[in-house]
Symmetry: C2
Subunit: 443 residues, 2 copies
């Protein structure tokens, strides 16, 4: 509620009719000539105005290129993992299907613009009409695309909530979109779990990712509300072969054996929903699993190096499997030490999570390190926001987590505190103007 | 508590005496030859091992250079603002002065190493002794210095807590290190306020900043505990003239009129504690003020552009003062519109915060945007973690905040939820091996 009166037009400097248009144009012009510092943001600004900014920023060198929004698949799944993430789960607050569809259509148009580093809406921040709220919140003005990707998914509660088929899609809920079972060693916070819709925003500049989520949340007002959001400050996986393997907060390289974008046959087998797997609207899509994993880093940090390596099954320095020197050496699950015990322990994390142990199961991981302040007991509230993409969670994540939650030596140092599952439809094809996020579900 | 037995040496692959040394050397070697992806991190790894990594990363282009840890002033104050921040306030949990001094000495050595992208302790992560916990947590292995700075400060409660002079320094508490008064429009969360010691970690790579805080917190175990920590994902100020002005979460350029590193005379007048200002141990230091400012971005986003610009007093696109076209134009506080009202409103933020309005007061701002998940009511918990450095808060921040908290039009959209004040001693001189963080206070 504003306690200030509406601004009389006279308060705007030297208005000339048609004022609104002039203002917008002059804003644009001003924005392009920002005085000191203009050289630094010049390339990015010009790019934003022109609708693309593919050059790298000479001042920061950050990878600024654009990731195509459209394609056979949604971006942000096998896209080379960006450095930062803002993940958001929404609750739909209306029962009106047409309102949800309208929001998804609006989101789609905004998302496509924002991945090109354009304002969410044309002239959104420095609007054509100064008497209206800006249609873009502005904090990403002048920033590059930063490889922003926005990936949407629909949770089980989108199809049926409290027994109610709010949007007439209950019969389209895929059987694979299960209610996630309860596993051992989890203390789930309902306020950090589930959600009707999720949007995963990944970018190299976190301000770009936050801006995208914030603008989607803004226009959702009255239709959907933020259920929870999670910032990830560092990627914990590589999804292409040219990315170096990053480290998680246990200090170990994470995702060495991850599926990679180049493994197209394996992705077809393990990640992409095939024709006939379930309802047609999900063909070409995938399922997104999240687990907020709190790490007890203080306990971990007081554990010997040898124990840390035994628990993981890899060497901390190189990331190589125990018994090997190369990070990418195949896991050696059979060789024994001189004492007759396996080099990779029977309850080592990499053994239990390996495809060899799981009858060939592989998942595409895309998680991020997080630190959410403190836990109130003198510790950082830190961990890993695990994200995986799978073709069918019933035959991949669930058996994997069943094995891990029962026996993984790592369980001593982690607790799962949030969980969710979302169905991510296929991508929107280039030139298909009628398609929008979820249109295969609603058509 | 580990439920696993100690690792018998036989579990390590092919041990050769002296095993520990060989392990460490081989780790190092492995680390330098990380297989696929080595090219990407090669320069940084080599730099880390050699103790410096000043080249920029050709893959990410992130600014990786090293900021000198030592100097007349602490780094992280007039250092060009890095992109990301992890701020941590600690409570000292011991009453033993020697333990605190020992921790500060250890912190100093670790901090100096970490700002050079070295492990916190030599061979810390891939230790010389596999039967000991690693002395570095490892998640920054292979990452560059990323311009990491670590800045320490001591809060009022470090000098006297609950009426007790725990460390024999009560008589050294500067008069300027006040107990911050209560202002209007604040709802302070004690769990996000104050603290005995603070460390501000700034870096371009957030993982580098988080790693630094985490390792300091780790070795503090038994001596100090994390009171609160705050991640900032985007800088909201420029502190050198070659930095472009960033935007805060209201979408406006922030810090246009900030003091800059180049303004050495103004810094001497407004930021650096001079000889005779107070106790000698603070000469050359400064005072760090924090305010966690929650922004009601949802209300803001529903406000017209004209009102937003009226509230701030600047144009959203260019950042120019209302009535001007250039961001860096001097504030024009006297010109009136055709209706006879000032172009910059009487309660506009920039007017009230201006040196013209405050009798010449200027502060050095160095804040960061934050998003801490959700507020539980469908909104992002977002805002600005305000940090300022001042020569004396009694004559700078307090009168400024008194004026702002009473009249600022922006108050409708913000609430201060955390506050702290810390005394930051001068820097440690090059070559002075006996100096440590706080040594001027304890000597």
């Amino acid at each position: 509620m504003s306690s200030h009166p509406s601004n009389p037009p006279g308060d705007a400097p030297a208005p000339n009719p048609p004022e609104a248009t002039n203002r917008a144009l002059s804003r644009r012009k001003l924005f392009g000539a920002a005085g000191v510092g203009a050289a630094v943001v010049g390339a990015a600004s010009a790019g934003a105005l022109a609708g693309r900014a593919s050059a790298s920023n000479p001042a920061t060198g950050e990878v600024q290129t654009e990731v195509p929004f459209r394609g056979e698949r949604q971006a942000g799944i096998v896209t080379a993992s960006q450095d930062r993430m803002h993940f958001c789960a929404f609750d739909v607050t209306t029962d009106d299907r047409s309102e949800v569809v309208a929001m998804l259509q609006q989101w789609t148009a905004m998302a496509e613009r924002m991945t090109r580093a354009e304002e969410a809406v044309e002239h959104g921040a420095v609007g054509l009409n100064p008497y209206a709220p800006p249609a873009d919140t502005g904090e990403a003005l002048g920033l590059s695309p930063s490889q922003l990707t926005l990936t949407i998914g629909f949770g089980p509660s989108f199809f049926t909530k409290d027994g109610k088929d709010r949007f007439g899609v209950a019969d389209r809920r895929p059987a694979a979109l299960i209610d996630m079972p309860k596993f051992p060693n989890e203390t789930m916070d309902p306020a950090r779990s589930h959600g009707d819709i999720c949007v995963q925003a990944c970018a190299n500049d976190p301000q770009v990712a936050v801006h995208a989520i914030r603008n989607l949340a803004r226009v959702a007002f009255g239709t959907a509300a933020v259920r929870y959001s999670q910032l990830g400050f560092g990627r914990t996986s590589s999804t292409t072969r040219d990315q170096a393997t990053p480290r998680n907060l246990f200090g170990f390289k994470d995702g060495t054996a991850n599926l990679k974008a180049e493994d197209t046959a394996a992705l077809d087998r393990h990640v992409w929903v095939a024709d006939g797997d379930g309802p047609a609207w999900m063909t070409g899509g995938t399922y997104l699993v999240t687990r907020r994993i709190r790490m007890r880093i203080e306990s971990w940090d007081r554990t010997t190096l040898l124990e840390q390596e035994r628990v993981i099954g890899r060497l901390k320095g190189s990331g190589a499997p125990i018994g090997h020197a190369d990070e990418f050496a195949a896991l050696d699950l059979t060789t024994k030490s001189s004492k007759g015990t396996p080099l990779i322990d029977t309850d080592a994390h990499v053994r239990l999570a390996s495809k060899e142990n799981l009858g060939g199961i592989e998942i595409l991981r895309r998680g991020y390190n997080f630190t959410d302040g403190t836990d109130g007991f003198g510790h950082l509230d830190a961990g890993l926001f695990f994200i995986a993409f799978v073709r069918d969670p019933r035959t991949s994540f669930v058996p994997m987590q069943t094995a891990l939650s029962r026996s993984d030596a790592l369980n001593e140092y982690i607790t799962h505190t949030g969980t969710a599952l979302f169905a991510c439809p296929p991508g929107l094809r280039e030139g298909d103007a009628s398609a929008y996020w979820g249109s295969t579900l609603f058509s």
